[in-house]
């Protein structure tokens, strides 16, 4: 286990474990945290897992932990690592089983008081229209058409009449990661995904009606479409069984690749292959296809949310609209360019429980956000405060353009279920003015706010370190979880 004495403080919110800590470290490990969050990381194996990521072949500069770090498998959750081809590897453990688990936020001009009489109806309608839990998805298509979902992503959904082109513009990678190849996805993964396309899933995934309770940066909030006192929607879900299967498939396949390429690893879940190898390219293509499935999934769920609003509010509230702010991935692998020691390099960026946070200079952003920065969506756990931040140019240098993704767990699911009753939690949240619709009370208990870190602390670290700036704070008034 890592101890406090192994960690050097570099700055107010930045710590480092130097390469002298362990013989197999190729680069140092950096942690963004305050004192309290750092102390909390010493109680699990997250920092040991972070140190393990520094042993990956081709890893550059340093690997990173965001302040919402907690123990995962292979990489910690809240981990970022960059590797440089051709020796640099790609590792499924650095992306996660739920490929492109992420968040989409829609904002409206509807004031909370206007919506108040209709919140319960809206929740029930969304619960009816958006499949949740372990069940099937809401879209039935042929297997041939399904391959197009994997290769075209959310653009496929627009072609089918779901959502708008503007939604695509305001989605990371415009809802489609280039390089996807449906042929690299196993039939088993496709079977799982085909059954679940258009569904929220369960676990920590949720659909939330929020009020924008505080605006920190009026100029940016206006461009993002965020108005204090008005309603926003958050959709938090990922690639469902398809992504899980793709990760499982390639963790198994790459066990052989590790031996073939003579790679020594401290943890079997860090299995990997050189990015430029056939195995590495196959995984990337399958991972990209899974990411595209997840974007399509969030895109159609957003469409059904809009339909729910139409069903419930038409004729009851003056003209309104639900506009997409942005959609971000927080479990993904990307190929991006960074300057290291004065030279530009193409790097493979692994973000596992971390969000891209590009700044005003980035040309990757929709035109309307260029000069401003990318919305960084940070959901708190179900039923707690969430934040919308904006990325900075400094983040490119500090964290490979990456930020935190959420609150991070402090209590295991086992303990949460033993100590918290779902029915009690539902009642407590209702007393706080938060209506909850859940498919499983046990599942609800696992996601209790008490089981998570304080997202405000996490966001304060990120803002204090200059990685991203606060734009708005959102509080929930209604939650659906599977």
């Amino acid at each position: 286990m890592i101890e406090k004495k192994d960690i050097k403080r570099l700055d107010k919110y930045l710590y480092e474990i130097p390469t002298s800590h362990r013989d197999d470290m190729r680069v140092s490990a950096r942690i963004y945290a305050d004192e309290e969050l750092l102390q909390a990381t010493l109680s699990d194996r997250s920092l040991e897992q972070l140190v393990n990521t520094t042993t990956l072949p081709g890893v550059v500069k340093y690997t990173l932990a965001m302040p919402d770090i907690h123990q995962g498998y292979g990489f910690p959750i809240g981990g970022v690592a960059a590797t440089k081809p051709p020796d640099g590897v790609i590792s499924p453990g650095g992306i996660g089983y739920d490929i492109n688990c992420g968040v989409r936020v829609l904002a409206s001009n509807i004031e909370r008081e206007e919506l108040a009489p209709y919140v319960e109806d809206l929740l029930l309608t969304m619960y009816r229209l958006v499949p949740t839990g372990l069940g099937k998805g809401g879209i039935k298509i042929s297997k041939g058409e399904f391959n197009k979902v994997l290769e075209r992503g959310a653009a496929w959904a627009v072609g089918q009449g779901y959502g708008t082109r503007q939604d695509l513009e305001r989605t990371e990678e415009q809802g489609c990661l280039a390089g996807a190849d449906a042929a690299r996805v196993s039939q088993r993964a496709k079977d799982r995904g085909h059954k679940q396309l258009g569904s929220l899933g369960s676990g920590n995934h949720f659909l939330e009606i929020d009020e924008i309770v505080e605006v920190f940066d009026q100029e940016v909030a206006e461009v993002f479409g965020l108005q204090q006192g008005c309603i926003a929607i958050q959709i938090h879900c990922g690639s469902r069984g398809l992504g899980h299967q793709v990760c499982s498939d390639y963790v198994k396949l790459l066990q052989k690749a590790v031996r073939k390429y003579g790679i020594q690893l401290p943890d079997r879940e860090l299995v990997c292959a050189p990015f430029d190898s056939r195995e590495g390219q196959d995984y990337f293509a399958a991972m990209a296809a899974s990411a595209n499935f997840a974007w399509t999934n969030r895109h159609v769920i957003a469409h059904w949310v809009r339909r729910a609003f139409e069903e419930v509010l038409t004729g009851k509230i003056r003209s309104w609209e639900l506009t997409q702010v942005y959609d971000v991935a927080h479990n993904i692998g990307k190929v991006e360019q960074y300057t290291i020691d004065g030279k530009r390099h193409k790097l493979v960026i692994h973000r596992k429980g971390a969000t891209r946070a590009f700044g005003p200079s980035s040309k990757e952003l929709p035109k309307v956000y260029q000069g401003l920065g990318q919305p960084v969506l940070v959901p708190g756990s179900m039923g707690t405060t969430s934040y919308i931040l904006v990325g900075t140019d400094e983040a490119l240098d500090l964290t490979f353009g990456s930020s935190c993704h959420g609150a991070g767990r402090t209590m295991s699911r086992t303990k949460a279920k033993k100590t918290i009753w779902g029915e009690d939690l539902q009642r407590e949240l209702k007393e706080q003015g938060i209506a909850v619709k859940a498919g499983s009370m046990a599942g609800l208990a696992e996601e209790a706010p008490a089981a998570y870190k304080d997202v405000e602390r996490v966001v304060n670290v990120v803002a204090g370190a200059g990685i991203a700036h606060k734009v708005a704070r959102l509080d929930p008034i209604g939650v659906i979880k599977g």
Binding site: Y73, K195, G203, H244, S248, Q255, D267, A442
Partner: protein, 128 residues
């Protein structure tokens, strides 16, 4: 058992076959509760792996896949033949069950199958 982000299960078995069956049973106990009633469905599973840990992960992953595709919780496991790296079994299950913890995948995280004088043991971490 406690595991921060996910769920971990400690499994024991007096022999390799019992260990494999207990791992499956334990996974479904985490995932669901069900009534005691005769199974309504059965499947045969046949696996070959490079080592014991991979066989275990493949076995549980196969059951997870079937659970998701068939909407069945498997409650009975009959091992027809088994070796350190191969397994053939008939699994039987029920469609009448209620969800508990949703398991997304079986991981290799910290997976080391220990052989002791009392039998086999391991801790399996599931992604949830």
């Amino acid at each position: 058992m406690e595991h921060m982000a996910d769920v971990a299960l400690r499994v024991y078995g007096r022999d390799w076959g019992e260990f494999i069956v207990n791992a499956a049973y334990g996974m479904f106990i985490l995932m669901a509760d069900w009534e005691d009633s005769p199974p309504s469905t059965e499947q045969e599973i046949s696996l070959q792996a490079i080592d014991g840990e991979t066989l275990l992960v493949d076995w549980l992953s196969e059951l997870l896949y079937l659970h998701e595709m068939e909407d069945v919780v498997y409650t009975s496991f009959e091992v027809l033949s088994i070796s350190p790296t191969t397994l053939r079994a008939i699994v039987r299950g029920t469609e009448r069950w209620n969800p508990q913890t949703a398991i997304k995948a079986v991981t290799f995280n910290d997976l080391h199958i220990e052989k002791t004088p009392q039998g086999y043991t391991a801790t399996i971490v599931f992604d949830t």
